[in-house]
């Protein structure tokens, strides 16, 4: 028996499912996540009445553009997210980055992109921050675009309904009271916040629904699922969609190479980068 195979006989299926995920999303399953693949897909197997990963693989390969393929890919993705995740980052956005952008943007238009927004908590956290900052944004056009490769996550984000457990993680009590209403055992975000964010299913590596440049891009806890070549593509997408002075914020512990001279790391926040935009942007890999 191969000791590296978590489920004897399913090793090849796990390998092929991992390849499928990589082809569709660019994401690599780490060794530890491969061990959980059967657990992640078990509810789908049960729902579809399929006896094994082999049977699931056979079914999705027979209909590669069908709903089961989307559900399979989705079940293998990590949808972990929470409101104001890493509160120090959001404090820096509220106290430093947004006031600075407010002072710089003469046309009174602020564009933000949450790339890999999962189920929406991060994008809604930004919307709540802007509301909290109050009258200084009066008269501004504010656009928050939020994308994720998972259509199912985007549907949940658009609904803006969260469980009590979702609410517990990071959401300050005053934001809860101000922006959420109970719906049964869950909580619905206010339309005023929901309407500030435009959610779309899209792949960060080849975005089709994102255009123009942004003043602030958040792409947190996404890059570490990508191999190095895909990280470079992601970085080039950030370069394509920023202007000199834009910020890109990654997750804690994630790093972006500054060797191409397009981004420099911020002195204020360790996971933030500032776009410098040198003349040779035309050499980017897209």
């Amino acid at each position: 028996m191969n000791m590296m195979t978590p489920f004897p006989g399913q090793g090849r299926s796990i390998e092929r499912l991992s390849e499928l995920l990589s082809r569709r999303t660019g994401q690599l399953l780490s060794e530890s996540r491969r061990w959980h693949i059967e657990t992640s897909l078990r509810p789908l197997l049960r729902e579809q009445g399929l006896p094994s990963l082999d049977a699931l693989l056979f079914a999705v390969e027979r209909d590669p553009n069908g709903p089961l393929m989307r559900q399979t890919i989705d079940a293998m993705l990590n949808h972990e997210s929470s409101f104001f995740r890493d509160i120090a980052v959001f404090q820096a956005i509220e106290r430093t980055l947004l006031p600075r952008l407010h002072g710089e943007l003469r046309e009174k238009m602020l564009r933000i992109w949450c790339a890999g927004c999962s189920t929406g908590q991060e994008a809604y956290s930004l919307a709540m921050i802007i509301k909290r900052m109050g009258a200084m944004w009066d008269g501004w056009r504010i656009s928050i675009q939020a994308t994720d490769v998972s259509e199912i996550a985007i549907e949940k984000a658009r609904r803006g309904v969260y469980s009590q457990m979702d609410m517990q993680r990071g959401l300050p009590i005053n934001d809860l009271l101000r922006w959420f209403a109970p719906v049964g055992a869950d909580w619905q975000i206010a339309d005023e916040i929901r309407e500030m964010v435009h959610f779309q299913a899209d792949n960060l590596l080849e975005p089709r629904r994102i255009s123009g440049t942004f003043d602030l891009i958040l792409c947190r806890n996404v890059l570490f699922y990508f191999p190095e070549d895909k990280r470079r593509i992601a970085r080039d997408q950030f370069a394509r969609h920023t202007r000199a002075g834009s910020y890109v914020i990654l997750g804690a512990g994630e790093m972006m190479s500054c060797s191409n001279g397009i981004f420099t790391s911020s002195r204020n926040l360790s996971c933030a980068y500032v776009a410098e935009k040198p003349a040779d942007c035309s050499r980017l890999a897209f």
Binding site: S82, F84, I87, A88, Q164, Q168, R169, G170, P172, I173, N174, L176, L177, A181, P182, A185
Partner: protein, 121 residues
């Protein structure tokens, strides 16, 4: 070391909370009701209070009212714990002076995020 007072009439909840809080490097003291908690605050003011709502002798709400009457220069942050998620219930706690709330049962991540929100961590 930051000092947290856990106020709950359930020994189990106090034990779970202590375990989590100590793992976050907080020094923990326990009280079984609001009256005992007030006496402990008078002796030594904690940095943060994790406060149950429904307790015998003195409830969480009455404890908060008594605490605010004392007009401490640096009052502790108060995170109240509840099993109810009604908006009216949460609003009453905020009006009485609570800084945050947490639903039971809670885990380490939840409690840590609440301590960050109130500025203790």
């Amino acid at each position: 070391m930051l000092h947290c007072l856990v106020v709950d009439d359930s020994k189990v909840i106090r034990k779970v909370a202590r375990h989590i809080l100590e793992s976050l490097s907080l020094h923990v003291q326990e009280a079984g009701d609001g009256r005992e908690a007030l006496e402990m605050c008078d002796a030594q003011l904690p940095d943060v209070v994790l406060l149950d709502w429904n307790m015998p002798i003195m409830s969480g709400l009455d404890f908060l009212k008594e605490l605010s009457r004392r007009n401490f220069a640096n009052p502790p942050k108060v995170i109240f714990c509840t099993t109810e998620n009604g908006v009216d219930h949460i609003r009453a706690a905020v009006d009485a002076g609570a800084d945050e709330y947490v639903m039971k049962p809670f885990d380490r991540d939840t409690l840590e995020s609440k301590l960050q929100i109130v500025g203790v961590l």
